[in-house]
């Protein structure tokens, strides 16, 4: 509720983020439109498929990109973290739920807008969309968000040992920009590189959920993706819990 209320309270901020998403989408569309000036098909994509991919990618980014690492790092740095130690709530869970509620509101509005644009630009994608896929899409997006959130939490908890964990968040953003499928679909990368990326968690946060939404994977592949997402979610959750337990033993706050 707090997240929803905040999102509603600062409407201008919300409108500006929508414009930001739109500009990012535009850049991708213009780049790939220029690429398709020379050919009809690249890999498994024609112009429409690549445009749909980037529309859906924007929705995925809006929904799953977690920034709680900034808040966690700041709480530790300023000592605000202390107040959570005395409360009967899990700090990690609180941060995840708060961000989730905030993102969900923004993403639903953003998704509606982008889907409307997508329906206008490529009506055949919307009309041929099988509604039966919706529960799987919801599940893969939820798992992608949890992976992203736990990764972000791990970075934030590094603030127990580092003076400025925010820098690591920027490293994380750079890595995801490079090798998660945000800037180009994984299957257009050089094969060896795509193979390596396939084993890293980042593609399961952005690329594969987008492909699931686009319907570009077989049933077996979807089940495999969900399995890997569950594996990484549990692994990252356990690692973030480990960092939290070790961190609070080291944590000190003066005057809080």
């Amino acid at each position: 509720m707090i997240g929803w209320q905040e999102a509603l309270e600062y409407r201008m901020e919300f409108v500006l983020s929508l414009i930001g998403w739109f500009v990012r989408l535009l850049i991708s569309l213009f780049i790939w439109n220029a690429v398709f000036q020379h050919q009809q098909k690249i890999g498994n994509y024609d112009l429409q498929a690549i445009m749909v991919y980037f529309f859906l990618m924007q929705i995925v980014i809006a929904l799953v990109y977690s920034r709680i690492g900034f808040q966690v790092g700041q709480d530790i740095h300023t000592g605000d973290f202390s107040q959570y130690l005395t409360k009967p709530v899990s700090y990690s869970l609180y941060q995840i739920m708060y961000e989730m509620s905030k993102n969900l509101f923004k993403s639903l509005i953003g998704a509606l807008l982008f889907l409307t644009l997508l329906a206008i630009a490529f009506p055949s994608f919307i009309t041929s969309f099988p509604l039966i896929r919706l529960p799987v899409i919801a599940l893969t997006l939820l798992l992608a968000y949890l992976m992203s959130a736990f990764l972000s939490l791990c970075i934030g908890y590094s603030g127990f040992w580092l003076t400025d964990s925010n820098r690591l968040m920027y490293v994380y953003f750079a890595i995801t920009t490079a090798i998660s499928g945000i800037t180009a679909p994984l299957d257009l990368f050089p094969p060896t590189m795509a193979q390596i990326m396939h084993y890293l968690p980042f593609t399961y946060i952005f690329y594969y959920p987008t492909k699931v939404m686009q319907g570009g994977l077989s049933n077996e592949q979807v089940i495999f993706v969900l399995g890997v997402q569950i594996f990484f979610t549990l692994l990252l959750a356990a690692f973030s819990y480990f960092l939290y337990r070790r961190g609070i033993k080291k944590y000190e706050a003066v005057g809080n």
């Binding site: 220029a34 890999g43 490293v171 890595i175 800037t183």
Partner: protein, 262 residues
């Protein structure tokens, strides 16, 4: 007036340099982050050109040269003012502008150049490497004189970049929570990483004249590669002048709206 502002600017540089020597490790952390960010975009360009011979008439090495020019003006921005723009909305809400306003110097200079990030000078290393990587494969060998001309065009590009950020930051005088404007400006800046010719129709006009990030790195690159576009060189300089005066006027309007926090 110019000499007085230059003296204040130099004083701010000295204070911030001292800060860098206090936190030397930051230099290496920044260097590492910059390498990663550059690699991310170099990789995108590699992937694009794996699938096409040219992008809106630009070859891979030419597109990389645009990226190198982008990092030239952006590194300058990151060292001197970007961080101050990002703090501005928060400072305004906290009433921290009072101190700058009571000083007998340009308030914009004091506010937007207060904290300099000299650890970001490490970005120039990566930028130089990118220049070398791009130049070695250009379709035609580069003329040193024109390359120098291209580097000189980075100066108006950097000033225009500052002025656009100044206009965006000044909106904070009217809009209480405008922190997202920083993210929005980051998104607009991304248009400068690619050839301006990829943008079509209305958006080409928008990113060339109204929010002219698309010309910031393409025009210096065109100059360096001797691509005859004198109209665009004139346009970049003219836009810089227009935005300089508009941003100053807008700042002064904003100051009248400021009522402190107390």
């Amino acid at each position: 007036m110019i000499l007085k502002n230059a003296a204040i600017f130099w004083a701010l540089v000295k204070i911030n340099l001292k800060r860098l020597f206090e936190y030397r490790a930051l230099f290496f952390v920044e260097c590492f982050t910059m390498v990663l960010w550059s690699l991310a975009y170099i990789l995108l360009i590699e992937v694009i050109f794996l699938n096409t011979p040219t992008l809106a008439g630009w070859t891979k090495s030419q597109a990389l040269l645009i990226l190198a020019f982008y990092y030239s003006f952006m590194t300058t921005a990151e060292i001197f003012f970007i961080d101050n723009f990002e703090r501005f909305a928060l400072n305004l809400r906290r009433g921290n502008l009072d101190l700058a306003l009571t000083k007998p110097v340009s308030s914009r200079l004091l506010v937007f150049f207060q904290y300099m990030q000299f650890q970001d000078t490490s970005h120039y290393v990566m930028t130089i490497m990118l220049f070398i990587y791009a130049i070695r494969d250009l379709p035609q060998p580069i003329d040193p004189l024109f390359f120098l001309g291209g580097l000189l065009m980075v100066i108006p590009a950097a000033i225009l970049n500052f002025c656009m950020h100044s206009v965006a930051a000044t909106i904070a005088f009217w809009v209480e929570r405008s922190d997202t404007l920083n993210t929005l400006m980051w998104n607009f800046r991304q248009t400068a990483k690619y050839p301006r010719q990829i943008y079509q129709g209305f958006f080409q006009q928008l990113f060339t004249f109204l929010i002219p990030f698309a010309v910031l790195s393409t025009v210096p690159a065109e100059t360096a590669m001797k691509i005859p576009q004198p109209w665009y060189i004139f346009l970049l300089i003219a836009l810089t002048l227009v935005f300089f005066y508009v941003s100053r006027w807008f700042w002064n309007k904003g100051l009248k709206k400021y009522s402190s926090a107390g």
